[in-house]
Symmetry: C2
Subunit: 233 residues, 2 copies
DNA sequence: CGGTATCCCCCGCGATACTG
DNA sequence: CAGTATCGCGGGGGATACCG
């Protein structure tokens, strides 16, 4: 299979770049503000380093991405060009459509690390106590090596740890990947899950009570699903 | 490579269907009003029958397309569901983006049959004389078997013929695929090409003079290109 | 940190021929 | 008209190891 479609239709020409495997997800990360190679990988964890590099080069040649030397010898940054920034409405539309109409979440989609990474990016730290806050998340249904995560908020920003950062935990949240994923997607109401105990919180009461406030969900969460849950197999 | 991306992000889930090879072009055809298998193929001529069938089935399973029995035993029609119709803004955005930013047209994109098929779909017959009108197009740069096309407008509609339909030709247009393609895309101004003689018309003068009126261009033609023509190789 | 370099498998897809 | 059936290859991309 060659690359092209044998047409000069603008949709066909755009598709040559945009519909390559992983490309839309890389663009989503860049639009979300990532610029470092490994930050992009954290948002697209299943892509291999070599393929990510190849895709970034394709995007560079297509005039969508620009690669710049960052501060430091081994620091590089990837930025969207004007053409790349204009892809934003496309990505938004696809996200909205996906929220309404894409297939249900299957077990193999439930990557706990990815979920925590996305949560940490959108924490509303203004709704959290001042100073350092350490949140531990436990996924009771995750494999051993992906069961515990720590999110640490300091004045310097929010970070994810895969091992205990050492500090005292201020809030412990126990749930399943499935529940938190569907809450994040806006499919399950967060307060209902708290009441039902499928999300169990332990720790400082102020932090606990404000949980639905500082836990910002997916930007597409407010969009209501239209696909009937009982669709065909 | 599995199909999924290991994420429950709505963009990732939508991508599983939408970024499959040819899929966007099939959707473009359905949104343009095609519903018959072979009509879709005329708009996506380089796809094989088996692959088109496979893609349509995938789209059916994804709830985007619905297959119905038409009038007659061997007549089937493909329609967009509500979910499918909601893809329209995505396709429009991609088309607009492609018009502005996609790569230049290369020789292998210049399919003359595809061009004529798209022109015939958007003829403004109200700007043409009443009764039957036969237009012959000659592409001086096309291979022998794709050099001549006839567009026949009658009360019953507009049709494309690959062989002379027998009727007298009312207007003969001689040009190159490149010129007409770039005119259709809105990259070259039609009147300039007529003046320069790179589009040469012969025949009824009323039909000739109204040529820029009844020849409707791509819906994206009014959108001005932003990519610098002298971009990197 | 930000990549390279290989190896190799698998399957997507193009080509062609045939059918109810 | 609207597909089915079959075959074979090319190369996309996953996995893994290594590097400046």
């Amino acid at each position: 299979m060659q690359h092209g479609f044998g047409q000069f239709c603008p949709i066909a020409l755009a598709s040559e770049v945009l519909t390559q495997r992983w490309t839309l997800l890389i663009l989503r990360e860049l639009l979300a503000g990532s610029s470092r190679f490994n930050d992009i990988r954290r948002g697209v964890p299943r892509i291999s380093a070599s393929l990510l590099k190849a895709r970034l080069e394709t995007l560079e040649h297509a005039g969508i991405v620009e690669r710049r030397q960052g501060r430091g010898r081994d620091v590089h940054e990837y930025f969207l060009t004007a053409a790349g920034k204009e892809l934003k409405p496309i990505l938004s539309n696809i996200g909205e459509w996906g929220q309404r109409w894409a297939r249900e979440i299957e077990p193999e989609d439930l990557d706990p690390g990815w979920l925590v990474w996305n949560i940490h990016r959108r924490l509303d730290t203004a709704e959290m106590p001042p100073g350092r806050t350490v949140i531990q998340i436990e996924f009771s249904d995750a494999p051993r090596n992906a069961r515990y995560f720590w999110i640490v908020n300091t004045d310097g920003g929010v970070e994810v740890c895969l091992k205990s950062p050492g500090y005292t935990v201020d809030l412990r949240a126990r749930t399943t990947v499935r529940v938190l994923a569907e809450v994040w997607r806006g499919i399950r109401p967060i307060r209902r899950e708290l009441r039902a105990g499928t999300i169990h919180l332990e720790g400082h009461s102020a932090l606990r009570r404000a949980f639905p406030k500082w836990l910002l969900l997916s930007t597409y969460a407010p969009i209501r699903r239209k696909r009937s849950s009982r669709s065909e197999v």
